[in-house]
């Protein structure tokens, strides 16, 4: 591939990107691929939960901001719905909690054993 041909190619941004990928591939070195999930404030909210630096209501509000809607097309990461469900449970919104746990199961069938474990506990204890 000669230099002029390469420059023609990268005049189009899409092709430029393809060329970049090709160079990465040829050099055998990895760059960071695009994210699979929209993380919103999940990590800092989990940290806030552990350290109790925000109320459950504040944590719920922060996580609800990043929920999927008809106007966006985002995928939330594993644990996001379950974590939000747990926070709903902390403030007594048990139906909302169950709904989030079920959503976690639908999106990630791998979560079924643990989500069912938590739901069974809820049924026997009446709380998490």
């Amino acid at each position: 591939m000669n230099g002029i041909y390469l420059m023609e190619l990268i005049k189009s941004q899409k092709l430029g990107f393809a060329v970049s990928i090709l160079i990465v591939v040829l050099s055998g070195c990895a760059t960071k691929p695009p994210n699979m999930y929209s993380w919103g404030s999940y990590e800092p909210q989990v940290y806030a939960h552990f350290k109790s630096t925000a109320s459950p209501e504040q944590q719920i509000a922060a996580l609800e901001k990043n929920l999927p809607s008809s106007s966006n097309n985002i995928s939330l990461p594993p644990g996001y719905h379950a974590h939000l469900g747990m926070l709903y449970g902390e403030v007594g919104r048990m139906d909302d909690m169950k709904k989030e746990f079920e959503t976690e199961k639908t999106l990630f069938p791998e979560s079924t054993p643990f989500m069912d474990f938590m739901l069974r506990k809820l049924n026997t204890k009446g709380a998490l």
Binding site: K11, G28, Y42, Y47
Partner: protein
């Protein structure tokens, strides 16, 4: 013209970054490949540092690289709650529980056992250094076999020295996180970088991609 320039800068950057890669002995992935785990339980870490928040900072930030690598990750706050409700309050206690019992409750294929060896600020004569270091091993909960192990460290001293392989990109994310979330906890930031260095898939010696990743079955994100 602007598009052309932008593309050219990007291509040049990629080319420059790529040349910095060293060749390594291939990591032995035979046990990992045979086990093909789909879900990972992040265990409460053993914390050998003096800072009690170290485990929380790591737990909060270990899901990201594992989920982006294509695994289902058991929700860490619920995991922590389940252990505490059963009287298990330390990482050391949790890590002593039999794999079969963990699989029964959490349903995960594998568990990640982590030890935090360094966390916080050390004050030196001329400057202070914020550093976080940890090591992990991935264990198959169905067989007890060790599938992978690795270690990583991130330090504020890297910014001043010549060795900053990958730090720039990680810092961009970390700084964005801080701005968005108004965090002013520097060690938390370095815990995030350590976690990403430790658990990001896509290179020899790192974790393999999981079934949810578009790169599942490949060692690197290269397209075939």
């Amino acid at each position: 013209m602007l598009n052309y320039l932008r593309s050219f800068v990007f291509v040049s950057l990629v080319a420059i970054l790529s040349t910095g890669c060293a060749t390594q002995k291939p990591y032995d992935y035979s046990a990992f490949r045979a086990a093909h785990p789909a879900s990972i339980l992040i265990m409460p870490p053993k914390n050998n540092s003096l800072d009690v928040t170290a485990s929380y900072a790591m737990l909060a930030q270990m899901t990201y690289p594992l989920a982006e690598a294509g695994y289902y990750v058991v929700p860490v706050a619920l995991m922590d709650m389940a252990f505490k409700e059963n009287g298990v309050s330390s990482g050391a206690e949790a890590q002593a529980i039999a794999p079969a019992k963990l699989r029964e409750i959490f349903g995960a294929d594998a568990a990640l056992y982590t030890e935090i060896t360094e966390y916080g600020v050390s004050y030196k004569i001329i400057s202070s250094e914020t550093a976080v270091a940890a090591n992990s091993r991935l264990v198959d909960l169905r067989t007890g076999a060790i599938l992978w192990s690795g270690k990583a460290r991130a330090s504020s001293a890297e910014n001043q020295g010549g060795n900053n392989g990958g730090l720039a990109g990680l810092l961009i994310k970390a700084i964005a996180d801080q701005v968005v979330n108004n965090l002013v906890d520097h060690t938390y930031t370095y815990a995030g970088i350590t976690s990403q260095r430790l658990l990001t898939a896509g290179a020899n010696g790192q974790l393999l991609y999981g079934p949810r990743s578009p790169y599942y079955g490949q060692l690197t994100p290269a397209m075939h």
